[in-house]
């Protein structure tokens, strides 16, 4: 495989083409699991040293690891799986990447072309199954198409709104020989040409509208992270220039620093009171790379009723999908923000200073409600306290955080202050329990020297626990920080709110001993049960150069507040000091409860 990329075209097998195309697209690490239908590709991988293959324990783990790798580097993540069950196990990460716009290239083996359609061993209609959970997918039917499809796959995954793609390659195509052509310097697709440069007239209109605002707010999202570091830098510059309060979705955390003066905290169902109140009462909303998800908007007919809305998004289908906007701007966030900042400076635009000061005073009164307050406890570790200590003890390090899905995820978003983009990997759209552990593996592979922590829940982490074995194998010293409350906390919280406190199957009665489990896998187990021992235990966890499972025993019945209950608007939040048992029981109306 000692071939130079300067040679324009040469003969090689399909399997060699796959490896070569990965190299030509700058791929250095892939995540996968071998099987019958991908053995030729694994054989080609064996005979080269440029691409490192990370063997996982389940294909879902390969997908989430590749997602974590992609999210933390800005490069596409690559996974390699076999046909049939290999491909079907990839479905969850593919859908996860689709909903969170993560560039993910999945290469799957397929039974030989002559056997397709015969119900052959390990045959599945991979392109059929993955069609709705990918941005695009291909079944390669001829060796002559393979190089073009591989290059197209990288182009589609990474351009426009990023997303997952699948290239399904039958085994006979992997064996057959053809001519490999390297990728074109500038990829030009015949039909897929996403618009990245926005209409300048609309950008001008946007700064006029923003300058006219008396109660502006910026609502930013994952699109800022996807657009690259320059987008985050420009976002900070725009906030600096305009003193506009800024909130962000779960996916957008870190684009604007949590320590920044204009930061209101996350918005939405478990967002801060000040962020949601400001969204409700603003007169101009600048939405940047976010999509008005239902966890963000709450009740749609009461969503920010008095505001003019500007929406910057690279995907035209995001415009007016759920919320009507007054000024849509289709384009790449960095490009649009660059133009906005440039025009703002050139035209020496000014905000209405007195109105803005008044607006900030109002926001301060909301902030004074201290919506994230919780009652400290000397005997039991409060989960919020655990996150605060974890943040305090890791913030001066090169730290990356992943999460599973549930209460711990929301507490991490609320209490762990993110200062930089690409440092926060979480399953936002799909809400995939089991995402965080393999994602942490992917992040650690990309950043071997960094401190990578999966803030986990005891239920979620068991869904992909086996990947700790992959972390041990690949010397990836990931830290699994489990907020262990012995419940599926968020499920239980909803059952308390909506289902008469009938805790149907949300208690895990046979929890493993996580310390012993870590040891069984060849990692290190640490347990903390009292607030007093937490700091030392976290310091010990950081010091260990091995995968760690940290069993942090937290208050079992703590719930996640503030919260916008079902069917309520942004100005109708349930705050922690109001969340008495009675208030929780009555958070939904009489009629609603009658339906329980």
């Amino acid at each position: 495989m000692d071939t130079s990329p300067t040679q324009p075209a040469e003969q090689m097998t399909g399997a060699e083409m796959v490896v070569r195309a990965l190299k030509d697209h700058g791929v250095t690490d892939i995540f996968g699991y071998p099987g019958g239908a991908v053995l030729p590709i694994y054989d080609a991988l064996f005979q080269q040293d440029d691409i490192r293959h990370i063997l996982v324990r389940h294909e879902q783990g390969a997908g989430h690891a590749a997602e974590g790798y992609a999210r933390s580097t800005g490069k596409p993540g690559v996974m390699l799986v076999t046909s049939g069950p290999g491909a079907t196990n990839a479905v969850t990460p593919l859908q996860d990447a689709l909903m969170d716009s993560i560039p993910l290239v999945c290469i799957s083996g397929q039974v030989p072309t002559t056997l397709i359609g015969t119900d052959a061993f390990q045959e599945a209609d991979t392109v059929g199954i993955t069609r709705p959970c990918t941005k695009h997918n291909w079944l390669v039917k001829s060796i002559n198409d393979l190089p073009r499809i591989l290059h197209e796959a990288f182009y589609v995954a990474t351009s426009g709104r990023p997303g997952p793609v699948v290239v399904d390659i039958p085994k006979d195509i992997q064996f057959s020989t053809g001519t490999y052509t390297p990728p074109a310097p500038v990829e030009q697709h015949k039909s897929y040409q996403p618009k990245v440069s926005a209409d300048i007239g609309r950008i001008q209109a946007a700064i006029e509208l923003l300058a006219s605002a008396k109660r502006p707010i910026i609502y930013s999202g994952g699109g800022v992270v996807n657009s690259g570091p320059e987008a985050s830098r420009l976002l900070r510059e725009l906030v600096e220039l305009t003193r506009t309060p800024i909130t962000s979705t779960l996916m957008g955390l870190g684009s604007y620093p949590a320590s920044g003066k204009a930061w209101l905290g996350m918005l939405g169902m478990h967002g801060t009171y000040e962020a949601n109140m400001a969204m409700h009462q603003c007169d101009v909303m600048l939405c940047i790379g976010a999509r008005f998800d239902d966890r963000i908007t709450g009740r749609l007919d009461a969503f920010s009723p008095g505001s003019k809305k500007i929406h910057i998004d690279i995907d035209p289908s995001s415009i007016n999908k759920t919320v009507h906007v007054d000024l849509p701007i289709i384009g790449d966030v960095a490009q649009v923000l660059g133009e906005m900042v440039r025009l703002w400076r050139e035209q020496t635009k000014q905000m209405d200073r007195s109105a803005l000061s008044e607006w900030w005073r109002t926001i301060e009164t909301w902030r004074a409600r201290d919506c994230l307050a919780y009652r400290p406890n000397d005997n039991v570790i409060m989960p919020q306290y655990a996150i605060q200590r974890l943040h305090a003890l890791t913030k001066d390090r090169d730290t990356y955080i992943t999460t599973e899905v549930g209460q711990h995820q929301m507490w991490a978003a609320q209490f762990f202050g993110f200062e930089q983009p690409n440092r926060w990997m979480t399953s936002g759209g799909l809400g995939t329990m089991g995402y965080g552990l393999p994602a942490a593996l992917g992040v650690q592979i990309a950043h071997p020297e960094a401190l990578v922590i999966d803030i986990a829940g005891d239920a979620s982490v068991l869904m992909t626990m086996q990947e700790i074995s992959a972390a041990v194998q690949h010397n990836a010293p990931i830290k699994i920080f489990i907020l262990n409350n012995q419940y599926m906390g968020m499920v239980r919280q909803w059952q308390q709110l909506l289902h008469g406190n009938r805790l149907s199957h949300s208690y895990c009665e046979a929890m493993p001993d996580f310390v012993k489990l870590a040891e069984a896998y060849g990692g290190v187990g640490i347990r903390a049960e009292k607030p007093g021992e937490l700091d030392d235990a976290i310091a010990e966890m950081i010091a260990v150069d091995k995968p760690v499972i940290f069993d942090c025993r937290v208050a079992n019945l703590a719930n996640c507040f503030p919260m916008i209950p079902s069917g309520k608007a942004h100005n109708d939040m349930l705050l922690p000091d109001e969340a008495t048992d009675e208030a929780v029981a009555n958070a939904i109306g009489e009629k609603g409860r009658a339906l329980v």
């Binding site: 392109v127 059929g128 069609r131 709705p132 941005k135 695009h136 997918n137 079944l139 039917k141 589609v156 697709h189 015949k190 039909s191 897929y192 239902d294 908007t297 709450g298 009740r299 749609l300 007919d301 009461a302 995907d315 035209p316 289908s317 415009i319 007016n320 999908k321 009507h324 909803w494 909506l498 289902h499 079902s566 069917g567 939904i588 109306g589 009629k591 609603g592 409860r593 339906l595 329980v596």
Partner: protein, 190 residues
Amino acid sequence: MNTALQPPASAYFITEEKEQNERRTLAVLVDNEPGVLARVIGLFSGRGYNIESLTVTETEHEKHLSRITVVTSGTPHVLEQIKSQLARIVPVHRVVDLTTAARERGHDGPIERELALIKVQGIGEQRLEALRLADAFKAEVIDANTEHFVFQITGRVSKVDQFIAIMAPLGLVELCRTGVAALTRGKEGM
């Protein structure tokens, strides 16, 4: 804007659709590659959109292009989503809303035509009546013997509907319709 319903103990915000449905004819130019029709149909079923009629054939062989004509219905908001979701499919080159394009040019709608083949069985007076009506509808006889006709009728959807309804009591045994083919009026292309 839809109004929120009383939450039936749900983790979702459930709303009631208030807007009226409209009918639109869309032309979708796609690469004629395997699976492209499945992508389009999957989009409609996956997102809960309606398909009233669907017609697909390769239209430009050397460019490898197919034209899909889809008649759909939905609220104006949903129709906008359908168009942008279709445009997002990688092998889709263009999506043109023929209904809106025609209205912008001052027409009621695009030219829409359909072809149907209709088999009618009968003898005696009933058979003659079928033939007389077919003649009135300018339907052609494609196949016949003493006990049946196969008619071919082309025209607007409403005309085909009407002809089928009339044939029903006269011994209609089988029919096949192509779905709508549509173009805008005037000299400009789409």
